[in-house]
Symmetry: C2
Subunit: 366 residues, 2 copies
């Protein structure tokens, strides 16, 4: 339905096809950062982040391990990953920057199919930061590490002058062991596969937004921050080899961003059914008030699994047998067309494109 | 000459012995952070940093791999380390935050006796940071990585609002491979060992101070930032097994801090001869003008090696055969008494204690 030949006559395309064609052509162009200054959008996990990574970081550091731009790098049996955490506020219902930093890195390793083993932690502290808050954060990191079965084995602390940070930033890195022969990659998704989400989406993003107190909204929402490594282990143990195509935790940019990356990497379409996407009523209500689409709201303890259609039931029961996946559910399927796009069959019977995130509706969510 | 018994009669000690006794007793006390707020000293690498690490981080995360508080953690054949970089200014003669971040992590792995393999990089960028500067930094990281023979395989980027950072902070982590059976540890230093420094000290610290432009001093100094992994490899290959007791790069807190840590860990004294300590004339001149002791000024491409006395000549020739160690020289020796202290035979014929750093004379040096 689209063409690679730029001279193709647009009159042979329907209006809808022309739109798709324009989006797909834009995506094929080599990503170039056109801005001269960094904006919040560059850190949002969406289109600008992707362009920055491809044009600046990948261009400078290019190597086969970095190139897949996955949650972590896998070399032999070793998985290696890092994430910086700048969430504000530092403490929010259901968690804080400490367990977020541990779970985030544990989950990135888990998404590579690795068993997380050791973490490092680099702290950048602002002069004047209360020691009591730091103790609370390290206690929460220790608890999260114990829960995930990892140890924090090395670290570093820097202090910057007042006004040169925002209390506390944490960068965790992690190493884990990948079972030989196991490869999970977004390129492996193929038409017919099933798209599963491990639980309700958007809890973390909405919780952090409300915790900032900028909106006068009272709602019973808490972050979903949690380690997913035993959940992924159970799924991978239970399903036949190769049946789990890829796993992705839906953090910055939410489920929509992750699915766009999978669709793009694999050259498939992902077709979602809106009524099947689990969103807690309180989260949905807040999203409506805040004008945020829950598909773009960050989760910190939810993952997307793309599995072979024939393994759907096995995968669902494996996930549902685990507390972190108790309400796992199918939200869509992988289709051949239109390649690289995510489509949503809406509750009202229409279909819309779920595009990658532009701008940053939720800065510093993790 | 000292005693563990608090009831011992102080009158049996000479005045000098009483001073040593007081210092050593203070050090034996469980370190406790008494401040309620983080200060710049907590990030300086000296006494306050050590107390923060022991009382807050070690207390929360305690495990056998973290406990040695070395430059990195070694588990089996894997070495793992991390460092955050907040240097200001970002660009200075001889380097920038980019090559500093790569070399710093490469060197921490090298000091564990590991062959560095892969690095991660987490960027925290301030809104409004020029893309051109970011490209310059990533180019410099790429060059440094190539020079050290490592690849940057995974990363993360966060953006914070203007005024919540200082342009660009980078946290690198690294993994490397340790030769089976090799153990380098500060606890291994023993009386009679030789203390070697790989080159002139203090260049980086002084360069960064001058680059801030706060002092009207013009001097021909450049940072010594450099990867030390091929230097350590040559040293370890050449010396007999076990003859190299420990390696430490003298970054934050300088040579004085590293030597204090070695003396304390091994329960030995380290006795330096001031006239043997290599300091470039320009660096010495700047230190005098700035009121900084070069022993506390950071190096980013210099290391301390403690080696068996019988291996001194072999170690020196191995180091001197490498460009990074061309002017390696003996600066002191390990002695049995007074345990845990660093003494300096001064150029004027006296002896003074080189204590651990208190406060932060050089904030944000790396």
């Amino acid at each position: 339905m689209t063409t690679d030949d730029p001279s193709a006559d647009p009159r042979t395309l329907t209006r809808e096809e022309q739109v798709l064609d324009r989006i797909q052509r834009a995506r094929r162009r080599k990503a170039k950062v056109r801005d001269e200054l960094i904006t919040l959008a560059h850190g949002a996990g969406g289109k600008a982040t992707r362009t920055l990574i491809e044009d600046v970081f990948l261009d400078a550091f290019r190597n086969p391990l970095l190139e897949p731009l996955a949650d972590g790098a896998v070399t032999g049996e070793l998985a290696f990953t890092t994430d910086s955490f700048v969430v504000t506020p530092l403490f929010f219902p259901g968690g804080d920057i400490g367990d977020l930093a541990v779970n985030g890195t544990v989950n990135d390793l888990a998404m590579c199919g690795a068993t997380p083993a050791h973490l490092s932690a680099g702290f950048i502290l602002e002069e004047g930061f209360p020691l009591a808050d730091l103790r609370r954060i390290t206690a929460s990191m220790a608890t999260a590490a114990r829960a995930a079965g990892v140890t924090i084995v090395t670290g570093d602390t820097k202090v910057v002058q007042k006004g040169k940070a925002d209390g506390c930033y944490i960068t965790t890195a992690g190493v884990g062991v990948v079972h030989p022969g196991l490869t999970l990659t977004a390129t492996a998704a193929r038409a017919g596969d099933t798209v599963i989400v491990s639980g309700p989406i958007g809890d973390h993003g909405v919780t952090v937004m409300l915790a900032r107190g900028a909106f006068d909204i009272q709602a019973d929402v808490t972050s979903d921050t949690a380690p997913l490594n035993t959940l992924t282990a159970r799924l991978l143990e239970t399903c036949p080899e190769g049946a789990v195509r890829c796993l992705r935790d839906a953090t910055r940019g939410g489920v929509a961003t992750v699915l766009n990356e999978i669709a793009e990497s694999s050259g498939t379409a992902i077709v979602l059914t809106e009524t099947q996407i689990p969103v807690r009523p309180a989260v949905r209500g807040c999203c409506e008030l805040l004008g945020i689409d829950p598909l773009y709201a960050a989760c910190e303890g939810r993952m997307i699994a793309v599995v072979d259609r024939d393994t759907t039931d096995t995968a669902l029961s494996a996930l549902r047998s685990h507390p972190q996946g108790a309400t796992a559910t199918v939200i869509g399927r992988v289709a051949p067309d239109p390649p690289g796009l995510v489509l949503l069959h809406t509750a009202f019977g229409g279909t819309r494109i779920v595009d990658v995130l532009v701008g940053d509706p939720l800065p510093r969510i993790c």
